[in-house]
Symmetry: C3
Subunit: 175 residues, 3 copies
C-alpha cells in the first residue's frame, strides 16, 4: 500500500483563483525527487481561515490516513497568517525543532526568515509540518528537515518511507 502524504496550500488568492497555486506543486515535485518508496499525494487548496485549515488537517490525518501532512503558506506576521495557530490547535504534541531548523537554514538566504512562524507537530499517527509559501524556500526547508522525517514517521507508527540517497539521505539510528 502506498504511503499517503497530504499537501495543503493555504492561500486566499490561490484558492479564489486570483493566481495559480505554484507552492503545492513545488512540494509535490520535491517529494517526487526525494522519495523512492511508493506514495500518493492528497492535495487541498484552501483560504487563510483557521477553522478551514484545522478541518483540512484533521481530514488528511484522520480520514485520509496521511502519515505526513505538509502545509504551505500562512506562516508570516500578517493578520491573515494563521497556519501555525491552526496547526498547534490540532496537534497532540509540538515539534519545535522543525521550525527552529527551517528558520536557521532560511536565514542563510534572507534576513526576513525570522519572520516565519513555521511549526510542526504530531496528530495521532501523522506528522504535520508547516512550510513557507515560496516555492524556492519550500525546497530549501524540505532539504533541511526531510532527513529526519522517515524516522519520525517510523516512531509514530507510519509506513516506512525510503529516499533516493543521492538526493537526500534519511537518517535512522542503528539501534
Amino acid at each position: 500500500m502506498n504511503a499517503r502524504i497530504g499537501i495543503i496550500t493555504v492561500s486566499d488568492r490561490a484558492s479564489s483563483g486570483t493566481y495559480e497555486d505554484l507552492s503545492g506543486p513545488a512540494i509535490q515535485a520535491t517529494l517526487k525527487d526525494f522519495l523512492s518508496s511508493p506514495w500518493e499525494a492528497c492535495y487541498r487548496l484552501i483560504p487563510d481561515e483557521g477553522p478551514m485549515i484545522q478541518a483540512a488537517l484533521k481530514e488528511l490525518c484522520d480520514r485520509e490516513g496521511c502519515c505526513l501532512v505538509l502545509t504551505t503558506g500562512g506562516t508570516g506576521p500578517s493578520p491573515r497568517d494563521v497556519t501555525p495557530e491552526a496547526t498547534e490547535a490540532v496537534c497532540d504534541k509540538l515539534m519545535p525543532g522543525f521550525g527552529e531548523q527551517m528558520r536557521a537554514v532560511s536565514l542563510r538566504y534572507v534576513a526576513t526568515a525570522i519572520l516565519s512562524r513555521q511549526t510542526a507537530g504530531i496528530r495521532g499517527q501523522s506528522l504535520i509540518i508547516n512550510l513557507p509559501g515560496k516555492p524556492k524556500s519550500i525546497r530549501e526547508c524540505l532539504e533541511a528537515v526531510f532527513p529526519a522525517v522517515p524516522y519520525c514517521v517510523d516512531l509514530i507508527g507510519g509506513p516506512r518511507l525510503e529516499t533516493h540517497e543521492a538526493v537526500i539521505r534519511a537518517f535512522r539510528p542503528k539501534s
Copy 2:
C-alpha cells in the same frame, strides 16, 4: 508623519531611582544610528510587574500608535523577570524566530545567552520585541534582527521604515 517607536525599560531598580536607566537610551541611540526615515520615541520606565508591563505595551501599541515597541529588561530566569510572559499575554501572534536569532547571536559572546527568554510578537499593527537588559547586548541583538523589522512593519500595516544602509541594511523581498 513620523513613525512612532515605543521603548520600555523594565527594571525595579532603574524605575525606583536606584540607578540611572542606561538601557532605554541605548535603544534610542541604536535606532538613531539605524533609521534614516523620520521617527520619534515613546519612552516608558516601569518596574518588573507583569500588569504594568502589559499596560505599558497596550498603551504604546493601541493609544500611542507605535509600529514597533522595544522592551529592555526582565527576560532572565529570576522570579522578578516576567517581561516575556507579559509580552505573550498581550500579543495576537508570537514570532519565535526573533528570540531564537537573538539567543544564537548572543551565544557568540556569552554562554549565559541561553538564559535569556526574549520573545517577540504582533499586537494589532505593532511589532513588540524583547531586548536584553545590558546596553552592549541590546546593540548586538538589534543588529541581528533589525534587517527584518521594516518588512515586518510593512506586513502589519505600519509606516515605511528606511535605514542607513551603511549601518544596517533592511531586507525587503522584491516581489
Copy 3:
C-alpha cells in the same frame, strides 16, 4: 551543605526492569566530571507517565530541595514520550534557550536531533532541564548548556556550583 541535584530517568522499559538504566548513571558520571563543589544526587527511575513525571519533578524540587533537576528520556515524538509536557506543566517559567541550544548541538551529530522536544524551565528555586535518552547524547548536551547552569542557579537563589575549569568552564558575568 551539599548541593542536591535531581536525576530522573523516564523510561517504561528501564523502570520495569526490561533493561538496565544507563542514562541516569551517565548523567551522574558527567556531573562528577564537571563539578568541583560538593553535591549529592537524588535519583528516580519512573515510567513514561505524565502524572508520575510531574510528581517526581515536584518532589525533587519542593521536598528534596534540588537546585537542579535533570531528566533523561521521553522527549521524542512517540505517543509515550511526554516528558516535555510534564516539565512545562510544573514550571513557573520556561527557558526556551536550553532546548534550542541542545538541538543545535545535537544536529552536528545526527539529523534526527530536530525530533527532540527537550525543554527546560524554572520551578521555584529549581532549574529543570530535559536531556536526551542516549548516554552519548546526554554528555554532548550537558557540555553545550552546563556553562550557563551555575549562574542560572545563582539567579534563582540556589547554592554556588563550581566546576572543574579544565573540563567545563562555568560562565558568570562580572557585574
